[in-house]
């Protein structure tokens, strides 16, 4: 394998891998936000919540 082949292969792997990861993280991250806000709302309504 040449340096040239390595870097071009790496460019495509990184680009495609990041695109796929972005889709997964965007959807599951949005779900995590909903969960986080629900949990925070719960904590905010609890008068014994940590300060």
């Amino acid at each position: 394998m040449t340096w040239q082949g390595l870097w071009i292969g790496m460019l495509w792997v990184v680009l495609v891998g990041f695109a796929a990861m972005s889709v997964v993280v965007s959807f599951l991250g949005a779900r995590d936000i909903k969960k986080m806000l629900a949990r925070l709302a719960e904590q905010a309504s609890d008068p014994d919540a940590d300060d």
């Binding site: 990184v14 993280v25 986080m36 904590q43």
Partner: protein, 566 residues
């Protein structure tokens, strides 16, 4: 006195040269940047995006009813959201700029930096090297671990070195970010655009940092991640479509000395550079405070490992893709020779006397030419958001270290209110320093090399002392202090100091060789002093008890620390 004199004369000569160069080059540069596609519609997109981000931040801040929610988002951040925010914070505008510059000057060979960092993050994710045991120690900051494992002197010394290195490191962020905005929007550099943009950005960031809470930071980080991900992929495909991959490769082969082999003597890099990058990759990914702070806030060791493992992809991406944009800028500029847009080549390729083109502008100017109206606005807005999220994290991080690990241990007793007040004062002071440093400092090193040399001042000693403390039973406080001091010697690799040393010694060492020497000195000093001066032989002794509370008059320090985060 002698060294002070030399420094002063250097500064005077340096500013004279800068003034001369800017007179020559700024006129050309203003014409070059004016060819951008950036339009009024894009300005509207930028303003709307930033306003929406601020509104989202303010809306979600109503959830911050407690200190826990305000500072730590109630420890409710899931793995996927954690990955998005880690990427959002670490993919800053300066990251894009320094990698683009490395690609512009070093070609495809610069990809080795992204490859090495991606592999190192993956290794840490799979093994939990340093970060997993550090999290098990239940400390909140790295210097706090120094006190727990060694003594208070190590904590204060470690805090001082960390803060100085971090502040010097971010010293170029503001000017580099401003160059991107000037380059892509076509603002006139002759009309003091860079200092004005620097000032405006700094004021926005300071207000945002002082007022913003962790919940709003996380939500806006997530929005930034989504927008930037989309923008990064589309921009890369557009660049390939514009130039053609075959043409990019051919042009690099024809016009760059060695644009593929990073270990070749005639490349921009070389063996010592690559070796230092490997060491640096492992050390920074394991001990860089803004990364480690996220690891320490995760719910478990497993979550930390998963976060690092997945982030290895985005860590490789954040270096490889901007470097590729820099390569595309290089190719595009060479294509403009003799064309209607030939002024670009005239500015960036002309090596006439006195002219010193600023390669940092190449990538934003290139993007300004190829991105269509609308998309260019979205990319610019996301970059400004990236700039802000990096700055607020870094400003908060270094000011917190100064308060928690330097001022508080020295003062003894400090209330939470005092700590917050001191933190805000330090945020403003660091902001002012970064503004002034950004205006003054313009060394000839790559931006990446400057960041590596200043960062090494901290991470060299920190990695040795942390790794030794976690994995070697005979590590002692004397060894830790010696290791930290020797590690800080890496700052000698910064161009302004390194040049003087090379002149005196008649050598031509680069920053990587200085860095490798510092790593060697740090390890050697740490081991030798640990063996020669062992700690008090009371097994399991630490300055802090199991709850991280000190058993001496500084108790309030760690209590306050914990209250701020929990």
């Amino acid at each position: 006195m002698r060294s002070d004199f030399f420094l002063l004369s250097d500064i005077l000569t340096f500013t004279d040269v800068l003034a001369h160069q800017s007179l020559y080059a700024a006129g050309q540069l203003s014409e070059v940047v004016s060819g951008t596609n950036f339009s009024t519609i894009d300005w509207i997109i930028v303003v709307a995006y930033l306003m929406i981000s601020v509104v989202i931040g303010l809306l979600v801040n109503r959830y911050a009813k407690s200190m826990a929610a305000y500072i730590g988002a109630g420890r409710s951040v899931g793995t996927w959201l954690g990955i998005a925010t880690m990427t959002g914070t670490e993919l800053g505008l300066v990251t894009v700029m320094y990698n683009a510059e490395a690609g512009y000057k070093g070609g495809f060979a610069s990809f080795h930096i992204g490859l090495i960092f991606g592999i190192m993050v993956l290794i840490i994710g799979l093994t939990g090297f340093i970060v997993a045991p550090l999290r098990r120690e239940r400390v909140l900051t790295i210097p706090e671990y120094y006190e727990k494992r060694y003594n208070r002197t190590a904590r204060i010394l470690g805090g001082v070195i960390l803060a100085i290195a971090g502040i010097l490191n971010m010293g170029v962020f503001l000017s580099v970010g401003s160059k991107f905005l000037v380059g892509i929007t076509g603002l006139n550099p002759d009309a003091m655009a860079v200092p004005i943009v620097m000032t405006v950005l700094l004021v926005i960031v300071l207000v945002y940092t002082v007022l913003g809470g962790m919940i709003s930071v996380i939500i806006t980080d997530f929005v930034q991640f989504v927008v930037l991900s989309f923008g990064v992929v589309i921009t890369t495909l557009l660049a390939i479509g514009e130039l053609g991959m075959d043409e990019i490769v051919k042009s690099v082969e024809a016009n760059m000395e060695n644009g593929f082999d990073p270990v070749a003597a005639d490349s921009q890099f070389g063996v010592s550079y690559l070796t230092f990058t490997v060491m640096m990759g492992l050390m920074t990914c394991a001990v860089w405070p803004t990364m480690v702070s996220r690891a320490l806030a995760m719910e478990s060791d497993t979550a930390v490992k998963r976060q690092y493992t997945w982030s290895s992809i985005s860590f490789a991406m954040r270096m490889v893709i901007p470097a590729f944009w820099g390569i595309c800028a290089f190719v595009y500029i060479h294509h403009t020779v003799g064309s209607a847009d030939g002024l670009m080549a005239e500015y960036f390729l002309d090596s006439g006397e006195g002219a010193k083109p600023d390669g940092a502008y190449a990538m934003p100017v290139f993007l300004g030419r190829i991105l269509p109206i609308g998309l260019i606005g979205i990319i610019t807005a996301a970059m400004i958001a990236a700039f802000m999220s990096t700055h607020d994290s870094y400003l908060l991080c270094w000011s917190s270290v100064l308060v928690q690990d330097v001022v508080a241990p020295i003062k003894g007793e400090m209330s939470t209110k005092d700590r917050i007040s001191y933190t805000r004062v330090f945020i403003v002071l660091i902001g002012i320093f970064v503004w002034a440093w950004g205006l003054f400092y313009e060394g000839d090193d790559l931006i990446w090399d400057y960041l590596a040399a200043t960062g090494a001042m901290y991470f060299t000693g920190a990695a040795v002392v942390l790794g030794g403390g976690l994995y070697w039973k005979r590590a002692s406080s004397a060894g830790a202090i010696a290791g930290l001091i020797c590690g800080a010697s890496a700052v000698l690799g910064v161009e302004v100091i390194r040049g003087k040393i090379n002149d005196v010694l008649g050598t031509q060492f680069n920053h990587a060789e200085f860095g490798l020497c510092s790593i060697g000195f740090s390890i050697l000093a740490f081991v030798v002093f640990s063996l020669l001066i062992p700690d008090n032989p009371s097994p399991g002794h630490s300055a802090l008890d199991a709850d991280g509370i000190s058993d001496d008059p500084f108790t309030i320090v760690d209590e306050g620390n914990r209250r701020l985060i929990q």
